[in-house]
Subunit: 253 residues, 2 copies
DNA sequence: CTTAATTGCGTAGACCATACGCAGAACTAG
DNA sequence: CTAGTTCTGCGTATGGTCTACGCAATTAAG
């Protein structure tokens, strides 16, 4: 199972080989009855329908009409399946948009696309990742994001840092959204009731003398008005891109 | 176990009552042999030493010399224990710093303090949170952060959004750092070998014709130079605070 | 036809969270 | 002092998890 690769360098982790389709099948032995993409697709569908907790090896196997241990011929461990699921959930990145002076539009579109993917598959942000992104889909997203920054005058290192910052922001926003949805489901409240209730609880628990700034926020009704999750996302994204713009201007001055 | 609370409003979730020490003990029955803070402290120590995966109810109980099921007299479920662990790991927030024109120094210090707490307890970012922060420690951190923004001319809603943005950034940075460390441990490489190897793998896997921007980054040696995790953190933080500064200037114009 | 490789998968081991119920301790009411 | 109440500790049991191992069946090469 050692990835045969004629070029030199560090060995490919098995999960990377699987993601790039580099697992070569020996000509002997019975035909595989399952296929890795089908397994991943079934797992993704299951996670979409019933959440990440429902994705167990036995459950995925049942969904495919196979036995639990059959999956381990295609995947070396559950972690590997999860990594492949994430890559599948991201799907195709948005087309590379305008470069040069149009970098901001391009990055905003890129961020919106990542956010949309994470909203289609909210469980993605719950998957514990352990390593830098190497799956082909992940690299495509990174590539198309980096292209937006061509011609901005930023250094290569800075471009990479900006992308790291941006994807981190989008993922964090998706995580918060998913948490809100879970809190709503757990308490049985409607999702737009959660934040006002949260404000009431803070007001009750926190002594106004010790938490004056917090109480100022609460009594201003910040949590009562439902400004929608999109506004919050746009606010943070605007701050972040403003910061990048400041840097780009400094580099071109 | 319904939280008795004479004031009106939404019911307190049990975990919140526990965090605020509102669980009143009946005068009858035997003295409790354990105490909630001791349980939480043992669990935190265990997570620090052996990672979050080592924190099972039976393991925590063993650490305390108690039986597994004894813990359930103090904690209604494992989720509750995890939430309390997080609050304990954060500890005390930094003293509220300079307000007014000094907001930036204050927020930078606040962010550095959160980062330090998350570096002391890297498992915190792996705990799946399900709901807005209501534990006393969390609220103290939020309070002291909000105070930095007093006198900036920002609206209350904007202050809250800025804090959300900032803590999200710090947490995401800590998550990436933890992932890097895990990748290092899993592959047996030294931690400063991971990124250069990552670059080599990308160079080998990704076709330069399809991934030109990525290859530009790689061949610039971005991943080879070890600029240290602190530089990456400072870069993102600077961009973020630049963005906030732009907003504050706009509000005061 | 023999042989080597590979697949499907049954079994089993080692964990995990936690529902339930019982024995005993500690307090209160009488 | 006694009876009743109520809580604690925790043993047992259930149903779930991942996955190491090994065996039978299948396929193709020699």
């Amino acid at each position: 199972m050692e990835p045969t690769n004629d070029e030199t360098g560090p060995a490919l982790p098995p999960v990377v080989a699987a993601a790039w389709g580099l697992r070569e099948r020996a000509p002997k032995g019975p035909r595989p009855g399952l296929a890795l993409p089908a397994i991943v697709a079934a797992a993704v569908a299951l996670a979409d329908a019933e959440g990440l907790a429902a994705v167990s090896m036995s459950r995925v196997a049942k969904e495919l009409g196979a036995a639990t241990m059959a999956l381990y011929r295609y995947v070396s461990a559950k972690d590997e399946l999860l990594t492949l699921m994430v890559d599948a959930a991201y799907g195709e990145p948005p087309a590379p948009g305008g470069t040069g002076p149009d970098w901001r539009t391009g990055l905003a579109r890129w961020a919106a696309a990542e956010r949309a993917a994470l909203q289609r598959h909210p469980w993605v942000v719950r998957v514990p990742i352990s390593g830098p992104p190497l799956a082909p889909g992940q690299l495509s997203w990174l590539e198309n994001g980096l292209r937006c920054l061509a011609g901005t005058g930023l250094g290569e290192s800075e471009k990479m840092s900006v992308m790291l910052l941006l994807t981190g922001y989008v993922r964090n926003d998706a995580l918060l959204t998913a948490q809100l949805r879970e809190a709503s489901a757990a308490s049985g409240r409607r999702i737009d009731e959660i934040m006002p209730e949260y404000g009431q609880l803070i007001a009750r628990l926190a002594d106004p003398a010790r938490f004056p700034a917090l109480h100022a926020v609460i009594s201003a009704g910040v949590l009562d008005q439902d400004d929608g999750p999109d506004d919050e996302f746009v606010f943070g994204l605007d701050r972040l891109l403003d910061g990048v713009e400041t840097l780009i201007r400094a580099r071109n001055a």
